[in-house]
C-alpha cells in the first residue's frame, strides 16, 4: 500500500512565523502535490513537483514556496504565515504514467493566529 505521511496533524502558528509542512511518500512516485482544502472551495493546488528539484506553481501559489531535495520528500513553506492561510493542507503523490490516481496524506490542519 502507498503511504503518504504528513509530519503534523495539527499546527498552531503566529502571524509572521515561517512554517514548514513536511510530506514523505514511500512508493518512489515521481509527482508530488500540495493542496489546501477550504469549505465550499474543494481542493486547490498550491504547488506540484514532477521530479527532484523540479517544481511548478499551481493555482494559488502566492505566499507559499516548496522544496524537493529528495524524491520521497516534498515540503511546503509558508514564508510569513498570515491568518488567511489557516486551512487544511493535503499532500499527495502519484506515479508516472497515464493513470492519474493520487494518494493523499491525512492532512495537516494549520491555524494561524
Amino acid at each position: 500500500d502507498v503511504k503518504v505521511t504528513q509530519s503534523s496533524r495539527y499546527l498552531v502558528k503566529r502571524t509572521g512565523e515561517k512554517v514548514f509542512l513536511e510530506c514523505v511518500q514511500d512508493m518512489d512516485h515521481e509527482n508530488m502535490f500540495w493542496y489546501r482544502q477550504d469549505p465550499g472551495l474543494g481542493l486547490r493546488l498550491i504547488y506540484f513537483s514532477y521530479d527532484v528539484k523540479m517544481k511548478e506553481k499551481g493555482d494559488i501559489p502566492e505566499g507559499y514556496s516548496v522544496s524537493r531535495e529528495k524524491k520521497e520528500r516534498f515540503s511546503l513553506i509558508l514564508e510569513s504565515a498570515s491568518t488567511n492561510q489557516t486551512s487544511m493542507y493535503l499532500c499527495a503523490s502519484k506515479a508516472g504514467g497515464l493513470k492519474n490516481i493520487q494518494y493523499f496524506g491525512a492532512g495537516t490542519r494549520l491555524s494561524v493566529l
Binding site: V4, R9, N31, F33, Y35, G40, L41, G42, L43, R44, L45, F48, Y50, E56, G58, L90, A92, K94, G96, L98, K99, N100, I101, Q102, Y103, F104, G105, A106, G107
Partner: protein
C-alpha cells in the same frame, strides 16, 4: 473559471437506495476522470475512475458514467450504505498536463439508516 463543478454541495439518501452524485466539466482536453472519497480527519482516497474512451466503468456497488458530449459524469452507488457517508470529490485530468488533476468542490453524501 471553475473547470470542474459539483453543483450539489450535499445529498441525503436512505440506506439501500441509489445515490447519484453529479459532476460537470468545461475543458474538452480532459481525458481521465476520477472520484475520490473523503472521511473527516482523513485524506481523500481514490474510489473509481474512467477514461474518456469509455462511457461506463463499474466496480462493485460503484459505477461511473461519462457523457462526453454533455461534459458530464456521474457516480452511482447501489445500494447505499451508512458507511458511504463522506465527501465525494470529482477530479479531471488531461494527459498533457503533467499528471495534475482539477478537483470539484465536493458533495457531502449522508446515508441514513
Amino acid at each position: 473559471d471553475q473547470q470542474v463543478k459539483q453543483n450539489s454541495p450535499s445529498l441525503s439518501v436512505q440506506e439501500g437506495r441509489i445515490s447519484i452524485l453529479n459532476c460537470d466539466y468545461t475543458n474538452s482536453m480532459f481525458d481521465y476522470f476520477l472520484w475520490y472519497k473523503k472521511y473527516p480527519a482523513e485524506g481523500p482516497t481514490f474510489l473509481i475512475s474512467i477514461s474518456s474512451i469509455k462511457d461506463k466503468n463499474e466496480d462493485g456497488r460503484f459505477t461511473v458514467f461519462l457523457n462526453k458530449s454533455a461534459k458530464h459524469l456521474s457516480l452511482h452507488i447501489v445500494p447505499s450504505q451508512p458507511g458511504d457517508s463522506a465527501v465525494y470529490f470529482c477530479a479531471a485530468s488531461d494527459a498533457n498536463n503533467a499528471g495534475k488533476s482539477t478537483f470539484g468542490d465536493g458533495t457531502t453524501l449522508t446515508v441514513k439508516p
